[in-house]
């Protein structure tokens, strides 16, 4: 499901969550988390406060490790989290989420929503310039809107902007949009990165040099991108919220988490997302704790086992329910996440207002699973331990992407449990690009383990609506339910939160009953930051929401020489 990119909090950025990368990405972005679910274990919170470690000062470099490399730094064209992480420091939206996950102005100094909710007026900041010195105006916003709705723009995020009836720049610093019908995610959708009109207008966006050399309005200015190695950003001295304390931000690409962890300890990077094993077993000693601060909070994401509902066997709801009963979620959380996560029961994060805690549960019950399968006609007629029906044994393949050890091990545990009820599972692990293009988008899979990030707005139209089942769209399991369709439509057409809550709670009841996905778990984000960085204040939004306020006391700065070099 749609994902809010972290650093920039672009609400709209709907991203396939890149998994191998997933834990790492969160580490970096760590931003999203909900206050209600902050856990007491958060004791790893750093004791440092700006007040205790002297006044903030400028200098030093923050080096972040990432498993994945950005694909395109024009964020509307990219759907992987590394691109959005980096682009989020370079661009701004009109609005953003603050540390408590409330929508506040970003490039918009203020905004007004009309009583009907159909008209939003943004009053833009007047002192903003692009990194190349050109002034930022409403014309840039209008251009971004037009680009989004242009059918020639290959963006995955057009849907929200197609709801707009009219968009106009009434003066250089006022931008107004009018919607045909009430559209609940409207305001949040303007968190999208605003693009520079003067560099893109009249040119083919697909061939724009901005993809490799972006120009934005954000706190950091793009400096260089060494393919397969790193992306380097430097501070923007004219940033409208004040320049970041940190001089440089380097995004290092290290495609292996064990190597990355060694780099962290060797001082080659300052920040990464830990794996559960690293968090629980490799960082619990004094020297590490002196040098690094670990954080832990539930990620805004969930992992699931999705069935291809076009497959005859999975068309029967009872078969899916049986599979759900046969899987022991507690075992996966304990064995694979080492307890660093919680069970998922639906597409929302436990504790948020959209989350319905009372849906049908599927506790581990292999006896019941067998019984249901028998009722449907799956019996072990030939005595080989595998159920069969009309002579065809119950065998299927679970695919997942390469680079995510957690998912591979989850698959192995599911494989073993399903074997116990007589279903033989094969596991196939596929490289990310081929996985998405050849299997998910073309729907040539039987079942898959994958994750979605959870957006702040509960609108999940793109993932569950029956109109979104075409190749390449996000409802790739081909789930079709007329009641869910109607509810999804209803949920985005009202601004009343209580009404929306009821709508989305009902959707969760239906999903729990029908099991198009077996919802598995909500993992914890486990970011770690080198201890010399001060000013980090974990909040509902995670830790990176105030990256520009992070600083390193003069005496502890490490990379000032580097700065002179460059």
């Amino acid at each position: 499901m749609p994902y809010n990119t972290p650093l920039d909090m672009k609400v709209l950025a709907r991203i396939w969550e890149i998994s191998g990368r997933m834990l790492l990405v969160w580490g970096v972005l760590a931003l999203i988390s909900c206050p209600a679910c902050s856990r007491p274990e958060d004791s790893s919170k750093p004791p440092e406060r700006p007040a205790e470690s002297g006044p903030p000062c400028y200098g030093d470099t923050l080096i972040t490790g990432s498993i994945g490399e950005p694909s395109n730094l024009i964020p509307i064209l990219a759907s992987d989290s590394p691109s959005h992480e980096v682009a989020g420091l370079i661009y701004n939206g009109l609005v953003k989420y603050d540390k408590d996950l409330k929508l506040v102005g970003d490039l918009a100094e203020s905004f007004e929503v009309s009583k009907s909710g159909l008209v939003i007026t943004f009053h833009l900041r007047k002192n903003v310039t692009w990194h190349d010195g050109q002034p930022f105006t409403a014309a840039d916003v209008l251009f971004t809107y037009k680009t989004m709705v242009d059918p020639h723009t290959p963006t995955a995020y057009a849907e929200d902007f197609l709801q707009v009836e009219r968009a106009e720049a009434t003066d250089p610093y006022t931008f107004r949009v009018t919607y045909k019908k009430p559209f609940a995610p409207a305001l949040a959708s303007w968190g999208i990165s605003i693009l520079p009109r003067h560099l893109l207008e009249g040119r083919d966006i697909m061939k724009s040099p901005l993809a490799r050399h972006p120009v934005g309005t954000g706190p950091f200015i793009f400096k260089e991108w060494k393919a397969g190695e790193k992306v380097v950003l430097t501070y923007n001295p004219d940033y409208f919220e004040g320049r970041p304390y940190i001089d440089r931000y380097i995004y290092r690409i290290i495609p292996d988490s064990a190597t990355m962890f060694m780099e962290l300890k060797a001082g080659g990077i300052d920040n990464m997302g830990l794996t559960p094993l690293q968090y629980a077993r490799q960082t619990e000693y004094r020297k590490f704790k002196e040098n690094f601060n670990k954080y832990r909070y539930p990620a805004f994401a969930y992992t699931y086992l999705g069935f291809n509902l076009e497959d005859e066997r999975f068309k029967d709801r009872r078969v899916r329910q049986a599979v759900s009963y046969a899987i022991d979620r507690g075992e996966i959380i304990e064995g694979v996440l080492l307890g660093l996560g919680q069970e998922a029961t639906g597409p929302y994060k436990p504790g948020t207002w959209a989350y319905n805690p009372n849906v049908k549960q599927y506790p581990y019950d292999p006896v019941k699973a067998r019984k249901i399968l028998q009722e449907v006609g799956w019996r072990d007629a030939d005595g080989d331990g595998i159920l069969d029906k009309d002579g065809i044994p119950f065998r299927f393949t679970i695919i997942t992407n390469q680079g995510n050890d957690i998912r591979a091990r989850t698959a192995e545990i599911i494989q073993r449990r399903l074997k116990e009820v007589g279903i033989e599972v094969k596991i196939r692990i596929i490289e990310w690009a081929a996985f998405i293009k050849e299997f998910i988008e073309k729907k040539t899979f039987e079942a898959t383990i994958l994750g979605w990030t959870i957006t702040q707005d509960p609108d999940i139209y793109d993932v569950w609506h029956s109109s979104k089942t075409k190749p390449g769209e996000l409802n790739f399991v081909s789930y079709r339910n007329t009641e869910v369709d109607a509810l999804l439509e209803k949920g985005r057409r009202t601004f009343n939160q209580e009404e929306r809550r009821k709508t989305y709670w009902r959707i969760q009841e239906i999903l729990a009953e029908e099991v198009p996905y077996v919802f598995l778990y909500v993992p914890d984000a486990l970011p770690v930051v080198q201890a010399r960085f001060k000013g980090i204040e974990p909040a509902a939004a995670g830790i990176t929401y105030n990256l520009i306020k992070w600083y390193v006391p003069k005496a502890e700065q490490r990379h000032n020489k580097l700065k002179a070099d460059s």
Binding site: A258, L277, R281, L338, Q402, I413, I429
Partner: protein, 284 residues
């Protein structure tokens, strides 16, 4: 006559200490692999999340992996996979290599040219990437792996046998057979190939070692033997991510691969030294 040859071979081989050691290692591996169901203390795919990554102990002599499975059992069962891959792959390579090599060597002329140029072309492919490409197209499975390793490993064999045949086919007994009116097939099968097999035997033994290494590498990369089937390569992969907390997960499968490959290589060298008259003379 044959028995005398075997005796002669044995007499020389048993003096070759390294070769003997290799033979013993290989024999031991065979026994362990065949007796895997009896020898392995646990079911190699039994997941026990209560005992994740436990260091070697009395219950788990080589420790446990990330899903609490017994590493010793997995290595023992993994050995079966390695042996099977080694033998089937080399079997395929030998059949293809001997057939094409014999054709090229015996018929010479344009048959030889076509076959040997084809060999050259095949040799130009970076084998490992060819395997990667094939496995990406087909589904990764142990059978595909064996076929692919075999199908990309026959060229050396073909060249060897061709060279051997070029010299054998001019010998008197071949000319005699031809004069007596024997068919080409009979000459090749009865008279030439048996006398050209010595280098093939050596190449095959060494080839087993190479095939085991390739399989381990493919499994290490996640495109070889698929879980839950254990193989040395995929145990190593799991070990790589937790090398700092669980050395046993990398060390033991790594040692298994090392010892096995070394064993086959030593055996191969021993055999070569024992049957190759030229080498023997060379050494004086």
């Amino acid at each position: 006559m044959k028995r005398a040859l075997a005796k002669e071979f044995w007499r020389r081989f048993k003096c070759h200490r390294l070769g003997l050691t290799g033979a013993m290692v290989v024999l031991l591996l065979f026994i362990v692999s065949l007796a895997a169901p009896v020898l392995s203390p646990y079911d190699p795919s039994y997941i026990d999340i209560k005992s994740i990554l436990e260091p070697p102990s009395y219950e788990h002599p080589l420790g446990t992996d990330q899903l609490g499975r017994d590493v010793l059992s997995r290595i023992i069962w993994g050995g079966r996979i390695s042996l099977m891959v080694g033998f089937v792959a080399v079997g395929i390579a030998t059949v293809v290599g001997v057939f094409l090599g014999a054709m090229a060597g015996y018929y010479a002329g344009y048959v030889d040219t076509i076959i040997m140029r084809f060999v050259d072309i095949m040799l130009c492919f970076p084998t490992f990437f060819l395997i990667l490409a094939v496995v990406a197209l087909l589904e990764p499975s142990i059978w595909n792996i064996m076929v692919v390793i075999g199908a990309t490993g026959w060229m050396g064999m073909a060249r060897l046998i061709r060279a051997e045949i070029l010299s054998v086919k001019e010998r008197d007994y071949v000319l005699a057979a031809r004069a007596l009116g024997a068919s080409h097939a009979r000459i090749i099968w009865r008279h030439i190939i048996p006398n050209a097999m010595a280098p093939v035997l050596v190449a095959a033994t060494l080839g087993v070692a190479a095939a085991i290494l390739t399989e381990s590498a493919l499994s290490f990369l996640g495109i070889g033997v698929q879980p839950p089937t254990p193989s040395w390569g995929n145990i190593l992969t799991a070990g790589k991510d937790s090398i700092e907390v669980a050395w046993w997960l990398s060390f033991y499968p790594g040692m298994a691969i090392l010892i096995t490959v070394l064993g086959y290589n030593l055996l191969g060298e021993g055999i070569r030294d024992a049957i190759d008259p030229r080498l023997r003379e060379g050494r004086g």
